[in-house]
């Protein structure tokens, strides 16, 4: 594959980088990424991956764009209210970079469909808003041997880790979803819009690093930040050999849909 003059121009600031170059850009162009959730995190992730030239981007989301999304879900614009999020996102991706192949899945990821969803992709991104989905994505990716990026945000906080086969997974840290009555209530579940951008762009950078194969991924460490203090910290993790899903004798061998607290579900109708 040889890059066209247009591609050399479009991706020039990547190609200039010693750690990307022509070879790295070609890997990005051949990359296939599935973004689960076209919301606060999925929005910046999709925008940056499209701009970067990730060849195939799949987007999973069953929701329609709502006015309350616009404060942080920067891929959706005011005239998109009422439109399926996957369509709104696809339109913006195509405008940024017409070369990207976009696959849309206008439904919720579930235990029943997730294995098929992730099958054709090299890297999966968790941009969901609820624990049920986060555990489902983790378990499905671990079982299928797929690398993925976990991301979570709330209020002024964000956290992310990258899983690659054989390394710590989300369940190595969080064994199971929190009890429903412990989940933040609706009034506690606000988020500063820019936090979504901060975390989403970290996840996008991890994805691109995964393809170019340079640097150190957030593997076996959880990056946590608080934007009120603007402090970042890395917590070193290791794979738990007794982990219920990635351990030596996993107790979880089939995917299940966890129940969600009502407020949590709202975003994923």
């Amino acid at each position: 594959m040889s890059l066209t003059d247009e591609q050399l121009e479009r991706y020039s600031r990547h190609i200039i980088l010693k750690d990307v170059g022509i070879e790295g850009q070609e890997k990005i162009l051949n990359g296939k990424v599935l973004i689960i959730g076209a919301g606060g995190l999925g929005a910046p992730i999709a925008l940056y991956l499209a701009a970067a030239g990730v060849g195939t981007i799949g987007i999973v989301d069953g929701d329609l764009v709502d006015r309350t999304n616009l404060q942080r879900q920067v891929i959706h614009f005011t005239p998109d209210i009422g439109k399926p999020k996957v369509i709104s996102a696809k339109e913006k991706i195509k405008e940024i970079n017409p070369d990207i192949k976009v696959n849309t899945y206008q439904y919720l990821a579930s235990a029943e469909n997730i294995s098929d969803l992730i099958k054709g992709y090299d890297f999966i991104i968790d941009g969901t808003d609820n624990f049920a989905a986060k555990f489902l994505i983790n378990d499905a990716c671990v079982m299928a041997g797929k690398p993925f990026s976990h991301g979570g945000i709330l209020r002024f906080d964000g956290q992310t880790l990258t899983h690659t086969p054989g390394n710590a997974c989300y369940r190595c840290v969080f064994k199971e979803p929190p009890p429903k009555d412990a989940v933040p209530t609706c009034s506690q579940a606000g988020v500063l819009g820019a936090i979504a951008g901060m975390l989403g762009t970290i996840q996008a950078a991890e994805t691109l690093k995964f393809f170019i194969g340079k640097g150190e991924l957030l593997v076996n460490r959880l990056l946590i930040f608080n934007a009120l203090d603007m402090t970042f910290r890395n917590v070193t993790l290791k794979r738990d050999l007794n982990c219920p899903v990635c351990g030596q004798k996993p107790s979880i061998t089939a995917l299940t849909d966890y129940e969600q607290a009502a407020c949590d579900l709202k975003g994923q109708r």
């Binding site: 050399l8 190609i15 200039i16 010693k18 170059g21 022509i22 070879e23």
Partner: protein
């Protein structure tokens, strides 16, 4: 000089950093040790591009001043 030039590109009137990008693209098509001939403008281009190529592990084996352009021979590293 009897050099075995594998590929030759003319980057006259191509400014920074696209001249560097196009040189990298041309080098990507060569094998290690093969030679690329590049025509670069005087000024910024000739000051920057060979230096950046050296940073990336390539060798600049000859620079010939042709007036408003320079002919540069690069060995892929």
């Amino acid at each position: 000089m009897g050099l075995d030039i594998k590929k030759s590109i003319n980057l006259h009137n191509i400014s920074c950093p696209m001249n560097f990008v196009k040189t990298k693209a041309a080098l990507a098509e060569l094998q290690q040790g093969e030679l690329l001939e590049v025509l670069l403008d005087e000024g910024e281009a000739i000051l920057n591009v060979p230096r950046s190529l050296k940073d990336e592990g390539h060798q600049v084996i000859n620079v010939e001043n042709l007036g408003e352009t320079f002919k540069v021979i690069i060995k892929k590293g």
